[in-house]
């Protein structure tokens, strides 16, 4: 094919078109590179086949960008497909993305550069098959990008396989008997699909079937870009486009095929053209990093006594019970207290489904030195908030260790481990104080009183800082006091629970 037309032919064509009322543009848009270096020996040509719709679509976009003065602001995202090499033509910032993921990438590009023009240019395999999720979600979030969707009803680049937009009965290399709804389903109508979503502001389907429709496409491309320029919202233009090579037609026949076969299946329409809405939701206020990350927050109670002489080198506690008993919180409070008393600390929870149903446990290590394993095989103390935990973990307690058990007495068939056990009805005590939720606080008070591992004053300070519910503050303080009291008055005096675990 001749690459240059004679002046007479051009002149004649221009006149014909002007008579029809079209504006004739026959110079190359400045948004295109002067030389196309994709094909080293044919630098005036694109890599697209003669008669391919991509050339026209590119031209419409390039001209619009030039006319709107957006060249320097534009970031063009090319997909995987025939237009993977769009960056050889568009003299704008270019990013090539993985198959189908252009809307995801474009989302983040736009959010990184909100005042720039971000274009996602995709074919039907890229957008309507592998990238269905990405396009739907980008559209649904109302990303302020523009998507040009070139639909030619086949996979062009890979040699003519079936696309989600392949017509019923249309043969392709992977639908050799024609697309059958019973096997491959129906052509996917992306413009209609996108238009069901709330966020998109502009959705139109156009066709490169004849000059009239190309002019409509030109207007749609412009409008979509103008909407983005004005920060209005997500715009989507589906472009029905000829693929003469794969369809095995000459360029003229291919255009006719778009008009006669594709348009009846994919009707041309403006599916969405809505006024911009002012969204009323607001982002949280921006605050200094130091404040947001709580880097310098002083506790209201200040660090209590960093020089408190702890009686241990390392002290380990396992807290266990039902989910909802405040097992993890009790462990966290102990850990926070240890930290405030200048110790090295670690807190390791059971997590996941265990956390959401049934039992929970956590390991707390308080140490005067750097902590090795945060996992505790043999805790110095087991705080068992229920019977299951007692039965499960009592035998793990270190020889000479201590078990605090939330009940009036031990189960009758319970075999005593090599550890001292104190039973206290923490739930009942908490309930009497006004909230059974304070069970863990009763246990905390008892633990502190019995082991003297950390200072009760630290506990009260930590509670003040960490428990946000005002209603619980008083109950918690009372619960800690009641726990301490129980140890003081009953255990130390020997009135209620004996080391053998039976109430006296």
């Amino acid at each position: 094919m001749p690459t240059e037309l004679s002046e007479e032919v051009v002149k004649e064509a221009v006149e014909q078109h002007e008579e029809l009322g079209f504006e004739v543009i026959h110079e190359k848009s400045p948004v295109f590179y002067d030389r196309f270096e994709r094909k080293s020996d044919l630098q005036g040509q694109t890599h697209y086949c003669p008669g391919c719709g991509h050339g026209v679509a590119h031209k419409l976009i390039a001209e619009a960008l030039a006319d709107l003065g957006l060249q320097d602001k534009t970031i063009f995202v090319s997909p995987v497909g025939c237009s993977v090499f769009a960056y050889y033509y568009f003299d704008v910032g270019n990013v090539q993305l993985a198959h189908g993921r252009a809307p995801a990438g474009a989302t983040a590009i736009k959010r990184t550069c909100p005042d720039k023009i971000v274009i996602s240019y995709q074919g039907d395999g890229d957008l309507a098959a592998i990238g269905t999720a990405e396009i739907i979600h980008a559209a649904n979030r109302g990303e302020k990008i523009t998507v040009f969707f070139v639909n030619n009803a086949v996979y062009g680049m890979t040699g003519g396989q079936m696309a989600p937009t392949t017509l019923i009965g249309q043969k392709s290399t992977t639908s050799p008997f024609g697309r059958r709804p019973s096997n491959e389903g129906y052509p996917l109508h992306m413009a209609e699909l996108i238009a069901t979503l709330e966020a998109p502001v502009y959705v139109e389907r156009v066709a490169l079937s004849d000059n009239k429709n190309i002019m409509k496409a030109r207007r749609a491309v412009r409008k979509a870009l103008e909407l983005q320029r004005d920060g209005v919202g997500f715009s989507f233009v589906e472009i029905l486009s000829p693929c003469p090579t794969i369809w095995a037609k000459d360029p003229v026949e291919a255009r006719k095929w778009v008009a006669e076969k594709m348009i009846p299946v994919f009707p041309l329409n403006v599916f969405r053209d809505k006024k911009p809405e002012a969204l009323t939701d607001t982002a949280p206020p921006i605050r200094p990093v130091r404040e947001v990350l709580e880097l310098g927050t002083k506790s209201t109670g200040a660090d209590v006594t960093p020089h408190h002489a702890h009686h241990f080198k390392e002290f380990t506690v396992k807290v266990a019970g039902f989910g909802g008993q405040g097992v993890l919180l009790l462990g966290q409070l102990l850990t926070e207290m240890g930290m405030r008393e200048g110790l090295e600390v670690s807190w390791l929870p059971s997590y996941g489904p265990e956390m959401r149903s049934g039992s929970a446990n956590c390991h707390v290590t308080l140490s005067r030195e750097r902590i090795g394993s945060p996992l505790i095989s043999h805790p110095d103390v087991l705080v068992a908030l229920n019977e299951i935990s007692l039965r499960k973990f009592a035998s793990q307690v270190a020889p000479g260790g201590f078990i605090l058990y939330n009940a009036e007495r031990l189960p009758a068939d319970f075999t005593l481990p090599q550890a001292r056990i104190v039973c206290l009805p923490a739930s009942e005590i908490a309930d009497k104080l006004g909230s059974i939720k304070a069970t863990n606080m009763v246990m905390l008070g008892a633990l502190l009183e019995e082991t003297e591992c950390l200072l009760p004053a630290t506990a009260l300070n930590v509670l003040r800082d960490k428990i946000k519910k005002v209603a619980m503050m008083e109950v918690n303080d009372q619960a800690v006091a009641a726990g301490r009291d129980f140890i003081d008055h009953y255990v130390r005096v020997g009135a209620v629970t004996q080391p053998d675990g039976f109430a006296g």
């Binding site: 704008v92 910032g93 993985a98 995801a104 983040a108 590009i109 850990t335 670690s346 390791l348 394993s373």
Partner: protein, 350 residues
């Protein structure tokens, strides 16, 4: 001032202090707190948090933000990171700096949500397609979750490459004191990025090199970068190695158990030492070979059926016997178990 902080949350605090203002991700146990913390903090420091529709979308958002010059991160766990592998390969191919956190859980398949270190191969040896490397950092404490995340951003920008922070369910879920200072940072210039400006108009971010010679040249360029990194970016920690007769090797949560195991062994009269790789790639092979040169045996402990042990064996190169002990499924060996392995299986005390 020290604050008690969860490992997963510390990741985000470190990221923000490193100047990261962009997080794109998808929740998964046991990494969800990272997304939750990012959702809480990012908008308050003027950053972006976006919950993607999938890990596939998330990593491609990371690609997009990185292409536009942002310090950007995502986080996930095993199955989610598997979905990201294609995108990580693209980031490496397009030389896009980004940080990906893998809070490793049990696999293969859906596995479970308990801690494992079974993603070592997937993270350290690649996982995605093609000739590329990830930098892989292995934190062993909450403090390191933050610090190594900060380092990850530095390395990512320095080498224009993805950097993985590979933690495990326990390091992610545990709480420890975290001591961080807000500091002034200068973000590096990224003249190669595509920012929609006249200065960056000529820029192209792409991983496609259609001509064989071009692609080979590109890969050689990447390889040269990786060789440079192997010379200068290895990091490790030694504990009680000076007079050690047996060397324990482990990273992440395992290294914590091994530290206690070294102490226990020494209390029993066995001179054990610990070598902890902090960079899993580049692997501190030279340093490990040196540490191993003085011992009689090496015991590698992992929450896997033996993955890092291959790199240890390559480093030691047959000069010392290298034994392996692994637990999986979410089982983390206890100090006692490790010491039984040391004293009985290796027979060092016998």
């Amino acid at each position: 001032m020290r604050q008690l902080c969860k490992g997963n949350v510390a990741i985000v605090k470190g990221a923000i202090l490193a100047g990261c203002r962009a997080y794109y991700g998808y929740p998964i146990t046991p990494a969800s707190e990272i997304a939750e913390a990012a959702a809480l903090y990012m908008p308050q420091v003027g950053g972006t948090f976006l919950q993607a529709e999938s890990e596939v979308a998330a990593i491609n958002m990371v690609y997009g933000a990185a292409a536009a010059g942002a310090r950007v991160m995502t986080a996930s766990s095993g199955p989610g990171v598997s979905l990201m592998q294609e995108g990580i390969s693209y980031c490496a191919g397009a030389e896009l700096p980004c940080v990906i956190v893998d809070v490793v859980r049990g696999g293969p398949g859906l596995g479970n949500i308990a801690p494992e270190q079974s993603d070592y191969f997937a993270m350290v040896k690649g996982g995605g397609h093609g000739n590329y490397r990830n930098f892989v950092l292995a934190p062993a404490s909450v403090q390191e979750m933050a610090e190594l995340t900060m380092l990850a951003f530095e390395l990512a920008d320095k080498y224009r490459n993805p950097v993985i922070v590979m933690a495990d369910g326990f390091i992610g879920q545990m709480m420890e004191p975290l001591d961080l200072e807000d500091r002034e940072i200068t973000l590096p210039e990224k003249p190669w990025a595509v920012k929609g400006t006249p200065q960056t108009r000529a820029n192209l971010i792409s991983s496609i090199f259609l001509e064989p010679d071009q692609l080979e040249a590109h890969q050689r360029k990447l390889e040269a970068k990786y060789q440079r990194a192997q010379q200068v970016e290895t990091r490790h920690e030694l504990y009680e190695c000076d007079d050690a007769e047996v060397l324990l090797v482990g990273y992440g949560i395992t290294s914590r158990v091994l530290r206690s195991a070294v102490e226990a062994a020494r209390r029993n009269g066995l001179k054990a030492g610990l070598f902890r790789p902090i960079t899993l790639w580049p692997f501190p092979s030279k340093e490990l070979a040196q540490a191993a040169a003085k011992v009689e045996k090496v015991l590698v402990v992992e929450l896997s059926n033996g993955q890092m042990v291959e790199d240890v064996r390559l480093a030691v190169n047959g000069r010392v016997p290298v034994e392996f002990f692994g637990r999986t499924g979410g089982n983390v060996p206890s100090v006692e178990e490790v010491n039984i392995e040391l004293t009985q299986r290796l027979g060092v005390l016998a």
